[in-house]
């Protein structure tokens, strides 16, 4: 008898349990702790679905970086506990919402139970893409991201830039051009500094490895970039580094480098290989790795800037 069903049931109930804790927790801190734990648990479910690439992205972006975003926001709101004793919703509203949520969940559940059989699949086309235009890539997901659906990936990079612009533009007018507020206001604890000094270089090395190996094994530009971003945030939280001024030239170049290189390569494909985003077969792998290297740079810069928030007026201490 196989143990797998038991393991899956334990995992699923853990995920649901932590999700319920996150929703029902009394204060913000507990909810955020629950959310970080929840993200880690989801990574397991993804491994059980044979999706290590997604597991790493979920752990890095969904749990790690989003967790830091929420924590930083909570700190800035001065809201360890919920600020105002907000009006609590009445019992009738609670019941009604509960019924609505249950309905939506069961409808979705019914859809899942009734998914068509045999299931539709784009895997053959993706396999063809991995063989043809994305030649030399052993990881089918990287082949899909960089070749089969490369247009989506490029637009997704542009979404990141737009998000950075959006975040910057809610800052106060007179702060424009300044640096975002530091991720930690006070002096750092010594163990924090030690950990950042030890972990950041190793982490950067691992991030680059994850990016490099992503051509053939789980990993890739998103995961590598997110880990690099996490390491930059670690140094900022230990106050070894400060967020850069938003009008810094290098920062803006790094932000647009990924999509720009991607777009130029796509256009060049139109000239050289006959269609937009087509790569010449022989050079496909080096070209894709070249584009991905700039994507890593852009992601590694964009995520921490999104967490750091809009430029704020300098508070010299």
């Amino acid at each position: 008898m196989s143990l797998r069903p038991f393991l899956d049931v334990i995992l699923a109930s853990l995920v649901l349990g932590v999700a319920i804790f996150t929703i029902t927790a009394r204060d913000l801190f507990a909810a955020v702790v629950g959310y970080v734990a929840y993200g880690l648990l989801l990574a397991f479910v993804w491994i059980r679905l044979y999706a290590p690439d997604v597991a790493l992205t979920e752990a890095a972006v969904g749990s790690g970086v989003t967790g830091v975003l929420l924590i930083t926001a909570g700190k800035r709101l001065g809201a360890l506990k919920d600020v105002a004793p907000d009006r609590q919703p009445g019992l009738a509203l609670k019941l009604l919402t509960g019924v609505l949520a249950a309905l939506v969940a069961s409808a979705l559940g019914a859809v899942i139970l009734m998914l068509p059989d045999p299931p539709p699949s784009l895997a053959p086309e993706a396999a063809a893409a991995a063989d043809g235009p994305g030649a030399g890539l052993g990881n089918p997901i990287t082949a899909v991201l960089m070749s089969y659906r490369s247009f989506d990936t490029m637009l997704e990079k542009i979404v990141l830039i737009l998000a950075v612009v959006g975040v910057w533009s809610v800052g106060a007018d007179k702060a424009w051009g300044d640096a975002p507020a530091p991720l930690r206001q006070q002096k750092a604890y010594a163990p924090m500094v030690f950990l950042a000094q030890m972990l950041a270089p190793v982490g950067a090395l691992i991030a680059i490895h994850v990016f490099w190996t992503g051509a053939n094994a789980p990993g890739g530009a998103f995961q590598g970039g997110a880990l690099l971003a996490a390491m930059w945030m670690l140094t900022m939280m230990a106050r070894l580094a400060q967020p850069p001024r938003v009008d810094a030239q290098w920062l803006r170049l790094a932000l647009v480098a990924g999509p720009a290189v991607f777009l130029i390569s796509g256009l060049a494909g139109g000239v050289v290989a006959g269609s937009f985003f087509a790569y010449p077969q022989a050079l496909a792998k080096p070209i894709i790795l070249f584009i991905e290297a700039f994507m890593v740079l852009s992601i590694a810069v964009a995520l921490p800037m999104l967490v750091a928030g809009p430029p704020s007026e300098r508070q010299d201490q």
Binding site: Y189, P191, M192, F194, L195, M198, L199, V202
Partner: protein, 95 residues
Amino acid sequence: MITLLDLFSIAAIGVGTFFFFAGTVGLLRFPDSLTRLHALSKADNVGLGLVALGLIPRADSALSALKLIVIWALVMLSGAATSQLIGRALRRGRK
């Protein structure tokens, strides 16, 4: 067919699993936060270490085996530092 290496893996992973359980029992039974922190660090350092050690003979390549050791080292490093931070937060009166 169970080889000697398999036996080594089973022994190491079994003891590692035991340490995770010991850590949990400590978390449940110890009286205050600092002693619970002590129990937690056993699960961290010894439990994960033995599991990683047991998996090394089953690794595909030398690089994978090296990565297992690095994982353990990273967890010990961050575990030591964060235990310090948690201990400090406790000492300064946060509960």
